[in-house]
Each structure stands twice: as structure tokens, then as C-alpha cells.
């Protein structure tokens, strides 16, 4: 019994290894590549960030089962509109892309398309355990397991499914990140496009995106 225990713990990666793996996992951009740099943040940026964080237009895209809690979040009991969160119909107008749960590869393609059509600064909020690590679909042949290999993610909300309170908490976190100038990875996505494209093409079999990156 104790033998197996030791072996298992050794096979498990150390914390350092995990952190290293995380770094490899999703490209992190340097501070200069960010939309705003905290050190050089000026008054204008402060005001702009204040406006940004209080005016979040959610793209109307229910990618998975988490979409069931979005109406609850937006309607009268939880009323996300008091925080400036409201729906937007097309990616051109939207700021926040909510990945509400698992993504099948067919949807992933559309999500990438939609993400690229959004305008900077754009934020991605990933919803539910399945976006983090596949969740209960860890052995499903049709869902991706880790979202940030395909598009950059700002905030993860864990749970299956997260309650509206958790969603609001996630948005609060996003607002905090926006105010500090740490949210919005559109620039980062463009810089590391090759890395993302390689990952995307690995799972999306019928790749028919235009060669040139347009946003």
C-alpha cells in the first residue's frame, strides 16, 4: 500500500513543474504588450478603464449548458445590468465573450471566429469546470479540454454550473483586472497567433479560415 502511494506521488508533478507547465500552456505577454501598463497608467487610462469596467457588453452566445444561468444573472433577482453588464447582439459591439461551459470542436471554430471579430479590448470569461480542464467530459472525443490553448482567457469561473452569485463574482474579478489594466488579451493573441493557430488547427479538422488574420 505504502509503496504504491510513494510511486503515485512521485509521478505527480511538483508545484514548480506545474507552474512551469502553466507558463508553457498559455502564452503570457509582457507588460508592454498589455492594453494598459500599470506603471505607466495615466489619468486618461484610469478614466477609460473605469468606463470599460462599468460597461461590459456580453456577446449573446450560449456556447454550452452554462447559458442557462445567464438569463438568471441578467434578470430581476441578480440584475447584472446594475453593474453595467448588458447583452450585445453581434461581436462587433461586444466586449465580453462568455464561454458558458464545454466547447465542442464545432463550436470552438465559431467561437474563434467570433472572438476574432470582436474589438479590442476584449475579454473572455470562461464558465464552468469543463473550460478549465474538460470537467466531466474529460474523455469525450468532441469537447476541448483546456480553453486557454485556443483563445486567451481572462477569468475562469469554476463550478458545474456556477451559480449566478459566482458569475457576478467572476465579473467583479474581471472588473478588478480591467481597472488594473490586466485584462484584455487581444494584443497577446495577435502576437502569439502562430501558437494559437497551431493549437486550433490541431483540433479543428476542416479548417477554412481566411489566411489573413482579420479582426
Amino acid at each position: 500500500m505504502s509503496e504504491t502511494k510513494d510511486i503515485r506521488i512521485i509521478t505527480r508533478p511538483t508545484k514548480e513543474q506545474i507552474r512551469q507547465a502553466q507558463i508553457d500552456f498559455a502564452p503570457r505577454c509582457t507588460a508592454a504588450g498589455r492594453v494598459n501598463d500599470k506603471e505607466t497608467q495615466k489619468m486618461v487610462q484610469y478614466i477609460l478603464n473605469f468606463a470599460r469596467k462599468h460597461s461590459l457588453f456580453l456577446l449573446a452566445y450560449g456556447t454550452g449548458c452554462g447559458a442557462i444561468e445567464i438569463p438568471a444573472t441578467l434578470t430581476s433577482r441578480y440584475d447584472a445590468e446594475r453593474l453595467g453588464i448588458r447583452g450585445a447582439a453581434t461581436p462587433r459591439q461586444a466586449d465580453v465573450l462568455m464561454i458558458t461551459g464545454y466547447l465542442s470542436t464545432k463550436t470552438l471554430k465559431r467561437v474563434i471566429r467570433v472572438y476574432e471579430q470582436m474589438q479590442d479590448p476584449k475579454y473572455v470569461v470562461a464558465f464552468g469546470s469543463c473550460t478549465i480542464n474538460g470537467g466531466m467530459y474529460f474523455d469525450s472525443y468532441n469537447t476541448i479540454k483546456a480553453l486557454d490553448r485556443y483563445i486567451p482567457v481572462d477569468v475562469y469561473i469554476a463550478g458545474c454550473m456556477p451559480r449566478p452569485e459566482a458569475v457576478l463574482k467572476g465579473f467583479a474579478k474581471l472588473q478588478e483586472l480591467i481597472q488594473n489594466g490586466n485584462a484584455g488579451n487581444g494584443e497577446c493573441y495577435r502576437k502569439n497567433l502562430d501558437w494559437y493557430r497551431a493549437n486550433q488547427q490541431k483540433v479543428i479538422k476542416n479548417w477554412d479560415f481566411p489566411d489573413e488574420y482579420n479582426w
Partner: protein, 186 residues
């Protein structure tokens, strides 16, 4: 109308051995050539107007696919499960999309998920999957975990799919409680 009437009628017309499954449900197996006439007969003669379901089961051990057509008669809640077995090598089934409008949907799904061909069925091939290159995924010989391992990247720390409770007890040195041990996989 009772189940016995239907069983008798099927027996007399097609010389089939039908049996009662549960309550109002009748199960009848036949050769695949007989399925279309039986379904039409049930629909037109006996008023089994509602196609409830079409399903397929992969009996890989016997090397057959079993197709199940479930039809329903709303007047007295009779259900007939029409079953047939087709060979797993080059599986083919008669195209019956004209019988019920949603037969088309079922046939598309079965064609995509099991690779059963319906000659003369002209619906687009891609239905649920997109750009699928492997063997049809619902076949039992398709290894979904292997495919996942080949295709997707999981975040580190979740490769082994451990039992969480077990892991916690081992790390902290606690004793596994009895009720948990009962459900343990070891």
C-alpha cells in the same frame, strides 16, 4: 385492441414471432428486408402512425448492429419495437426516409454515428460532427479515451483521473472511512 391482436396479425401476415416486452410493448425481430414492409403495414393497417424512435446497438461480440424501430399507436398506447440485425462489415439498411419526416433525422444520425449506409439517401453526410476523420464514434471499437489523449491537451495534474477522496486520504494519512471504502475501486 390488445397486444395479442397485433402479435397475431404480425404472425399471420409476416410469419414473425412477436412477444410482449413490458406491458403494452411488443417486440418483434426480423430480417432486414422485412422491416420496411412491416413498418408500412403497421403504419397503414394498424394505425401505428407515430414513429417514436429509431435506435442502433452495436453488438460487437456478435459482429452485428441491431436496429430498433419503435412505432406507437396513440389510440390505445400500443408500442411495437421492430428489430433487425445487420452485419457490421459494410452495414446497409433500407432507406425509409419517405415513411415519416423525422426518419430522415434518425437515418442521418445513425449513418454518422455508426456508419450504416442507406442506399439512395441523399441528405448531407455531415450532421452532428464536423470534419470527422476517424471511424464512426458510436461504434464500440472506437476508443474515445485514446482519441482524447491523441488529440487534446489536458491541463497538468489531471492525467490520471484519480479518485479525489482517495488522494486526499493518502496525502493526509487519514484512514479511508468505511462508507467510502465500500465504493472504492480497489
Amino acid at each position: 385492441m390488445t397486444t395479442q391482436d397485433i402479435i397475431r396479425a404480425l404472425n399471420e401476415t409476416f410469419e414473425l414471432k412477436a412477444e410482449v416486452l413490458h406491458g403494452n410493448q411488443i417486440r418483434v425481430s426480423m430480417h432486414k428486408k422485412q422491416v420496411a414492409p412491416v413498418l408500412l403495414y403497421l403504419k397503414n393497417q394498424w394505425g401505428f402512425i407515430h414513429l417514436d424512435h429509431v435506435s442502433c446497438v452495436d453488438w460487437i461480440e456478435e459482429n452485428v448492429f441491431e436496429l430498433v424501430y419503435i412505432v406507437y399507436r396513440p389510440q390505445d398506447q400500443l408500442t411495437v419495437l421492430v428489430k433487425t440485425k445487420i452485419h457490421r462489415e459494410h452495414p446497409e439498411m433500407e432507406n425509409m426516409e419517405g415513411f415519416w419526416p423525422h426518419m430522415r433525422t434518425y437515418q442521418r444520425e445513425i449513418r454518422e454515428m455508426f456508419g450504416i449506409e442507406f442506399p439512395g439517401f441523399e441528405a448531407p453526410r455531415e450532421f452532428i460532427l464536423e470534419g470527422w476523420e476517424e471511424i464512426p464514434p458510436m461504434r464500440r471499437d472506437f476508443d474515445t479515451r485514446g482519441y482524447v489523449k491523441r488529440t487534446y491537451t489536458t491541463r497538468p495534474g489531471r492525467e490520471d483521473a484519480w479518485s479525489v477522496r482517495e488522494y486526499i486520504t493518502r496525502r493526509t494519512g487519514e484512514k479511508l472511512p468505511d462508507f467510502a471504502r465500500k465504493y472504492s475501486r480497489d
